[in-house]
Symmetry: C2
Subunit: 204 residues, 2 copies
Amino acid sequence: MKRSIEDIRRQELIEGAYRAFLQFGIDGLTTARICKEAGMSPGILSYYFKSKDEVLFWMVRHANRVIMDEVVNRMKQATTRWDRLMAIVEGNFPEDLFEQNVANAWLSFYVASAKDVQLERLQRLFHRRLASNLSSCVCHLVEGEQIRHFVAAVAILIDGTWLHRAAIHSRMTSAEAISLIKSQIESTLGSDVVTAAKNTPVSP
Amino acid sequence: MKRSIEDIRRQELIEGAYRAFLQFGIDGLTTARICKEAGMSPGILSYYFKSKDEVLFWMVRHANRVIMDEVVNRMKQATTRWDRLMAIVEGNFPEDLFEQNVANAWLSFYVASAKDVQLERLQRLFHRRLASNLSSCVCHLVEGEQIRHFVAAVAILIDGTWLHRAAIHSRMTSAEAISLIKSQIESTLGSDVVTAAKNTPVSP
DNA sequence: CAAATTTTTGTATGCTCGTACAATTTTTTG
DNA sequence: CAAAAAATTGTACGAGCATACAAAAATTTG
């Protein structure tokens, strides 16, 4: 069974919204701009979606999937806990996405999610996934309370680095971001735990 | 010479804007809301200011001064490099300001400064001040390139922690934020540098 | 106190945007 | 091919907002 016109149009609008999102952030997303970006006429959005907010919702899921694919693909190839950890960090800074407009767009999503319960739920889902992935890399290697501290610190470092890429005119590259977070992780865990992580296979 | 009515009214409007800012962020700031918060009628803003953006500009300066006062007061009492460092960290997390609405408000300022050259200049000024203060705590204690890395890491940790307070429903307290950043700093610098910082007086 | 000046009020204007929808075109069906 | 259904277009409406400004009120001046 081939995709219906409806599915195709909805997907096109979501991807149009995504492109507009990367350029202008959530505030720059008007129905007209979304439709134009998708190559359609202005009124079409309300034919295929209940409202602009519905497009926004699916667009954010789409945007997150782009990043998550980067993470997951790298994690598949990891053989040690340490490799998994690096897969998460590196996957969160794809070279072609780590630039000011994109960082600003994500920042605007964070702001918007404070006033939109749907977006807030997505946001928390994304955070739980990240926290869960990070935990799996260090559990059994460090003690319980330490795990929560480690996860919080790395999450803050990742998001904080994106924030700086957005706000400060920093020209930081993704390689520099990864290297900064990597060395923070190393000094936080300590060399013995790092060595253990590098020698622990992924499964257990 | 007493303050003119104009100075008083402008200050009242700026403070009204600040209160509205803390509650609703930059997007929630309408001229009507600012005037209402200042206890004046809606049209008064355009009598004392060229535009809403001008109020925004002064309001952000005011908001930053609130934080900077916290930092500066703590730094005055510092006798060692380490104390100065802690003064900066603690001053950036005043207990009564470290809560979700305020964090969201600051986040919305970061987003807005991407599309407003005036706000962007303020933002960069704030960042240079922070970086300069941080540098002064570790220069001569660690080598040149290391300083830049250290400053970047701490700045990212501070902003990242605010971002998390805004976005994740984290209930993190200011004490927890300070403690997290403090331990990150300690493991980054290494115990010998920390000891040196604790034994180095502030002036040179 | 009366005229002049300053300050404040309330509103009108124009703009942007989301949404609904009638009119039109395209596709499908029998 | 004609009728019905689906898809698309363009626009009109209303809401929310920044700004300007005429009218009113308050204050100062002579």
